[in-house]
């Protein structure tokens, strides 16, 4: 067809050829765990304030990715307003801490519950509509939360945000320096990874997967589609709500511009680049996002938007299974067109002999 299809085809063929012997697989698995351990403990041996801060961000973005992955990756719903739940988590904490004397520990579950309630309220009317309508509706919902954060001054501090709560502590251990937040954020990521992984293998997870593959068929098979979509939406919201509270404490301020459309876009990018549905992939997507964003801020400022969108575009076009290769087989629709249908892939060759 064109250069792009040719490039994509080469990639897929190269990938299809790869077979790894089982022993190497096992070695690779342990190597991976070891590498993950070394990487996750990096803030402790690198020290300072900078690294723990960055690693905390990675963990938070990993959690965001995992939560949104339930919505996009498991259930196949494009959500463009996901950061609204992150905002809810943050503002709930700030209000609880500033005006009601709650601790982070107490405020986090409240934020999570309110995020879920919000997701149910917005999800109920939205989940009946087509995939792209849903995307737009969630975008609108994200916009409403953003403007509410800006305008409901009594609750949110308006444009200026909320700040100035007491230093939080858990079991007498104060959260003052970034290294104090890191284990908390990392712990949340691990819990999110384990829970969503368990969900993926469960009955609910299989229902999501059916809905994602073919909604009509899933409905015909007796799966209550709207209810399961709503579950995905609500489960996704929990993680953003929890991460939002930690982010607020770490950042010392909650203000609207952390929850813009751009942020929700980046969250989608994390899931797509990491590989929809893949748990490890999505965490790595979060890590990659923070690394690139940090690197971009240091060197090029606003270029990061250009880099991210180009990267996302390339991933969608060339590697729809995500940047990080967890599923060696490309999705079926691609295989169908480029491997099982030689005429399509090599149209230029088969034509002259007719």
């Amino acid at each position: 067809m064109d250069y792009l299809s040719a490039a994509r085809e080469r990639l897929i063929r190269a990938q299809a050829r790869v077979t790894v012997p089982p022993r190497v697989q096992t070695a690779g698995r342990y190597g991976f765990y070891l590498g993950a351990l070394v990487f996750a403990s990096a803030p402790y041996w690198l020290g300072g304030i900078y690294y723990p801060d960055i690693w905390t961000d990675m963990a938070l973005w990993g959690t965001i990715g995992l939560g949104l992955n339930v919505v996009i990756g498991f259930a196949g719903l494009l959500d463009l307003g996901y950061m609204a739940f992150y905002a809810i988590g943050g503002y709930v904490f700030a209000n609880a801490a500033l005006y009601h004397g709650f601790s982070l520990w107490e405020a986090m579950p409240i934020g999570a519950v309110l995020s879920v309630v919000a997701s149910a309220i917005i999800g109920f009317p939205t989940l009946r509509v087509r995939g792209d309508y849903l995307a737009i509706m969630t975008l609108g919902f994200g916009g409403i939360v953003y403007y509410a954060a800006q305008n409901m001054t009594s609750l949110t501090g308006g444009y200026n945000g909320l700040f100035g709560w007491k230093t939080q502590s858990i079991l007498g251990h104060p959260f003052a320096s970034p290294i104090d937040f890191y284990p908390l954020a990392l712990g949340l990521t691990v819990v999110a990874a384990l829970v969503t992984r368990a969900l993926r293998g469960s009955r609910v997870g299989r229902a999501w997967s059916c809905i994602k593959d073919d909604e009509v068929a899933a409905g015909a098979a007796g799966i209550p589609i709207i209810r399961y979509k709503l579950y995905a939406y609500m489960v996704g919201a929990v993680w953003a709500g929890l991460a939002g509270a930690i982010f607020a404490v770490k950042q010392n301020i909650v203000s609207p511009e952390t929850f813009t459309f751009n942020q929700s876009f980046f969250a989608v990018a994390v899931v797509i680049m990491g590989g929809m549905g893949s748990i490890t992939g999505v965490i790595l997507g979060g890590v990659l996002y923070v690394v690139i964003a940090e690197w971009m801020v240091t060197y090029t400022g606003t270029l990061s938007g250009v880099i991210f969108s180009s990267l996302l575009l390339l991933v969608v076009l060339l590697r729809p299974q995500g940047l990080i290769p967890f599923r060696p087989r490309p999705p079926r629709w691609l295989l169908r067109h480029y491997l099982e249908d030689p005429a399509r892939g090599t149209a230029g060759v088969s034509q002259p002999d007719g």
Binding site: E340, D341, A343, R344, S350, D353, G354
Partner: protein, 241 residues
């Protein structure tokens, strides 16, 4: 030389091989029918010839031109018209617009003449040119689709299941018009479930089973064939009479 020569045509949808290397030809001015059960690969063959689906192998030659794998609009411009299964008229457009689009590739003046000619064949449309095609009945839509296909005076007209879902009386009308078309010298390739009717119009036929040609011959020889009688005409010759 034959008008349409199809040799070793293969068509697949994903993992499913719908057509497994069939060959046939249609001569200038001839009516040929392709028979077979549901899923035998009849529609797939027509779609592949029309360019709606790229064949996975084999070749299609129209006149002196190899058209294998050409996009549908090119094939349409070369003089092959397909009346697709289920009519596929432009429901949100008027009858006039539907017909005019049938003559999309020709000049406005040629289109005007063609419109007159087609309205001569389907006089019922003359009064209702401004009506939306979506408001027509199934039979009328089939007529419109046929009229639309005739707008360019195609050299080969392909029809996919023209009588599907129509009352017998309407189907009879359609076949009447089809006979006229064949009489006017346009070659027709017909896919039809109603084998008896098809073999009345056609001079030759091919029988497809599981994507392969299992039988071919003149209409008379096929009508007389035991296999055809048993498999497609039911017990004996009852049904259409």
């Amino acid at each position: 030389m034959s008008l349409l020569r199809v040799s070793d045509l293969r068509v697949r949808y994903g993992a499913i091989q719908a057509v497994r290397g069939i060959s046939f030809q249609v001569e200038e001015g001839e009516c040929v029918t392709i028979l077979g059960a549901n899923g035998a690969g009849k529609s797939s063959t027509l779609r592949a010839v029309a360019g709606l689906h790229r064949p996975s192998g084999g070749s299609v030659t129209f006149g002196s031109q190899v058209v294998t794998g050409e996009p549908a609009h090119r094939i349409a411009r070369s003089g092959i018209s397909l009346v697709p299964e289920g009519r596929q008229v432009f429901g949100t457009l008027t009858i006039r617009e539907n017909l005019e689009l049938g003559g999309y590739v020709q000049s406005a003046s040629a289109n005007g003449e063609a419109l007159e000619r087609v309205l001569g064949i389907f006089p019922a449309f003359r009064q209702r040119l401004g009506a939306l095609a979506g408001t027509l009945s199934g039979g009328e839509q089939q007529m419109l689709a046929l009229g639309r296909a005739l707008m360019t005076r195609p050299r080969l007209l392909m029809m996919d299941e023209p009588s599907l879902g129509l009352a017998p009386i309407v189907a009879n009308q359609i076949f009447g018009i089809l006979t006229e078309i064949v009489g006017s010298g346009i070659a027709v390739l017909l896919v039809e479930q109603n084998v008896h009717r098809a073999l009345q119009v056609a001079s030759r036929g091919y029988v497809l089973e599981l994507g392969e040609v299992v039988l071919e011959g003149t209409a008379a020889s096929l009508l007389a064939d035991d296999h055809v009688r048993l498999a497609y005409l039911g017990h004996g010759m009852g049904e259409a009479e």
